[in-house]
Symmetry: D3
Subunit: 229 residues, 6 copies
């Protein structure tokens, strides 16, 4: 029995229900993160490579070796329409694992975007293609194709555990992962949260204080807050 | 006697003279920093969340606890027209302490912007609102409301000491703090500096060398500079 | 005999052949880096100060002392049309060594841009001037003119060795250095690479897999890759 | 159904077989990591707080909130003899979540050490107690007890997924996690590796080259390595 | 009127009461920080240069310019027996501002140690001298003597505001600043805290749980903590 | 003609004169750095893996690929008595490229130590062997042997240019590189500096101020320093 998940490509994965994914696509990352009870975020080191990049899809996961992008080519074959590639690396590096050629290939196979805890390049072309990429770095550094990683195994990407088929949503605020099994539930909770926020926004815009709207005055006083002149 | 400034909200603060603030608003951060004799800057880790963000106003200071944005709600009530919230944290974290709801509330109360040595979220909405925010990070991570900090006490924010009522100016180059007592003097010095720079710019554009314009050749030679072929 | 290269300005340097520079200007940083066999890059910490900044030219090198920009003024006199200033520092600091006045001077003397392993300021003005700057930081912090560095000595800038006269190309993907002696050869190799990529892009866009196009299936199998369901 | 694992303490966890844990305790972190096929490591940001710290035991996992160590107190009750506490945090902070009082409590309940992706304090006392702690930081900063995290849920700690009951081994080289189900297999593989290394060490000490011992000359030549004078 | 505190040496400063300093010297940094209500700490980036370094004394403050240690020489003259030099810098750099010669001078003038938000060198000699130094870096890089900073002005050092004469205590856990005016009160509070900890340590060592000793079970249940099997 | 130095092993290199190396071994890194006129240092990110590590020898240089230590094995064959391996990497990573087996091999072939801009492991064993290693990280992460780098080409290691045969000196203060051609001159200058420091140390220990000894009072006054009470 193998003691690790290296050198493996899993072909059949269970993707989150398509309609739940579509529902989640309507919400921002912060809203979904809150709706799930403040979990699921990747670290804030993962940033969009162009302003306004946004993606929502089902994860095809990749585990890369340092300075080696072989598995991204392997992953391309496993893509279905609506997938987002989520690439972790066994080691923190900023190398440019991905560029416009791979983006062209991913898109041709149904891929909607890339989340990578590593670097990417050709960012001007990627922006022109409007292919959403979220990465820890931008680097022109090329990579080799020499050592096996894996495709569609569970990975830890930028501090978040991602299973193949999970929903991944990324926007200017970061990246959130929704386990496939709770995609519908998370979408419903996000919708509820968004509805409640609209009302709050209106009241705050009218000058009502959060202190009153959220009834904070009593707990603040109880905690000992003192007003002085 | 309390040994710290925690759990306190100071309601009456002395804001810098309004006309001096208006004067300072005309100048860039670098100019004001130079005019004061190269002091007053926050660390360059504080960056605008959208290009072109710019703000000048009087500081309402906040001291936050890690992962806790309770005091931002408390601060909203202390805002007057023309204020900028300056939020320090007892600990370095990138959590998303602030988003579009608080921005809506701050603006409704007269707040002009936010400087925070922490993270913020809803950055797309904040950009759409043109609500200027300068932060150390962007993160969707939510925060709690459980532990007291303070409002309108002196804080150290990104390496700069800020008293409530000081003038804070922020643009693409960073953030500078002008103590309320010297706001007028700093504005005058900035105006003088800007005037002198216009002439220099013209001469340099015409091909004159800084070596000559600033009379550097003699001190360089004295320091031992050698020209070789 | 001096044991270091400090306090020296070299006036006569051998610049890369002008036509080769023009040729290289047509290609992106990633392409040139790959064409040379994956060498020549500066670290990814050097970033453009505005999106779309791009420059290609011959290096006039500068070695700065921490918090001291004296040598940038000295360098201005050594500029010829088509030069790019490459500024290293004896120490890592983020101070703002460069702003719009120096940019005005550099441009007036033929300078095309700046690569600096330090900070810069006046970034809004620099963007408005479309003067391409690539730096490790943005900071309003001013610098002094007190200690000698050098101009046109070999420098290590952001991890890359740069000789005066080398070609430096910078775009959204980073910065690459091409030794003057191989500028023509690198340009030819970049052209060849770009030609071959156009065909690959077309095939990938049509849905062909990199696995097949690059004939990776056999080496992957030999390395032990396993497909499972 | 809850969408997250917050606010939960799991009392009954399946610990790795005791004899396998004892076996693993004989080996270093690097050996075990290699024996499993190069997996299982936490990031190198986790360091021992005193030289020579070493621990091997079964994980009781903790998920902390930023600047809040409440759950460490909750975890103490769940400890059994031979356990090691593995504490992740929902946010990266360096606060001092742990000190000599908690160490005293952990040890009294059977705890053998602590791995924490956060800060600790009282390090002089901890060293005097020889209580092994591996942390991302040392900080005197105190924490509150206000917000729920969890105990004995799966956590991602410094980039590694840890389930309660897994074996955790930490020494000067870092921290490795061995899933409970393969503890025996990993121990056997580590033993095999160590045996083979002893022979290699002897041959290398006698001056034999790795090039010959590992038969690298042919693959190096095939890869194109050139010897020049 | 000067708009900054540069170029100034204040000769007469009010040092904290000597007996209060002696009292504070008995306690660790974490204890004093807690006793003051969790304030006063420098950032954890400041570390002792040798294990076991410990110092307590009254601050003589220094503001340095980047790569320039002139003001440390100026500070030497201002030292009185029992002083600790606290050196901030206008810019973050790791240069080696201080070495064994300055330590010899400081000690000869009554100086007890150094806290510096910069680098130091000759660390082997400093350890041999048992001259306690706490710094952000170790670096052999030399510095110049060209630009004025200040001595005995208020400084922000590693995030903490320090006035000349304040008490500074540093040990393996970090550095804490006690304002001169509350030195006695802080010492008393630290003594009280230490006394209460001794009892707690004994109870925890006997196996009592913090959950019970601190009466946490009820608030945890109220917060919603669930125990599951 | 190759455009890069990859895939090359240079067998005949010109090492610095043996007696000059022996002379340099008597001095600390800071002294040599100063004696050469404040040049030659690697970045302070390179630290000894155990306190008191010290090495002086002639450089055998290695250029590594990320996560690949093949070239270290190739380098072993090129070692002569008194050599120190200086390993740069094309990419910043913290992987554990080196451990006790390679140290055993290096030592058996005459190697005296290792400077590496990457990670190492087996640090307890390396300390027990007293094999001096200076690295940017400690990590148990294993590496592959798949991609060619080079041996004995000029490399940029931690910001310093190193040619094969240069003298490399490393101690607790960092790492300095002395070009082979000036080894003798640097040794002489270091000796002169050390002699002059002994006298200064004595005078400072007797209470004389640097202000007087270095005649700083006049230049300080000229620069505008003001003493106030």
């Amino acid at each position: 029995m193998s003691m690790n998940n290296l050198g493996i490509v899993r072909r059949s994965i269970e993707r989150a229900e398509r309609s739940a994914v579509a529902e989640l696509a309507r919400f921002g990352v912060a809203t979904i993160h809150e709706a799930m009870g403040r979990v699921g975020l990747m670290k804030p080191s993962i940033r969009p490579i162009y302003p306004g990049a946004h993606v929502c899809g089902t994860a095809v996961t990749v585990l890369l070796q340092p300075g080696d992008n072989w598995m991204l080519h392997v992953a391309a074959e496993q893509l279905q329409d609506g997938d987002v590639v989520v690439a972790a690396c066994t080691t923190d590096t900023d190398d440019g694992y991905f560029g416009d050629l791979l983006a062209t290939s991913f898109r041709a196979r149904g891929g909607r975007g890339l989340i990578i805890d590593g670097g990417v390049r050709d960012v001007k072309d990627l922006a022109a293609m409007q292919f959403p990429v979220f990465s820890r770095a931008i680097s022109a550094r090329g990579t080799v194709k020499a050592t096996l990683g894996s495709v569609n195994v569970p990975v830890v990407c930028a501090g978040a555990l991602v299973h193949p088929g999970d929903v991944v949503i990324a926007d200017d605020d970061g990246v959130v992962v929704v386990p496939a099994a709770i995609a519908r539930q998370a979408a419903d909770a996000a919708a509820a949260r968004e509805a409640s926020e609209a009302d709050k926004r209106k009241r705050l815009a009218a000058g009502e204080l959060g202190l009153d709207m959220y009834r904070m005055r009593e707990p603040l006083a109880k905690a000992g807050l003192k007003y002085v002149d």
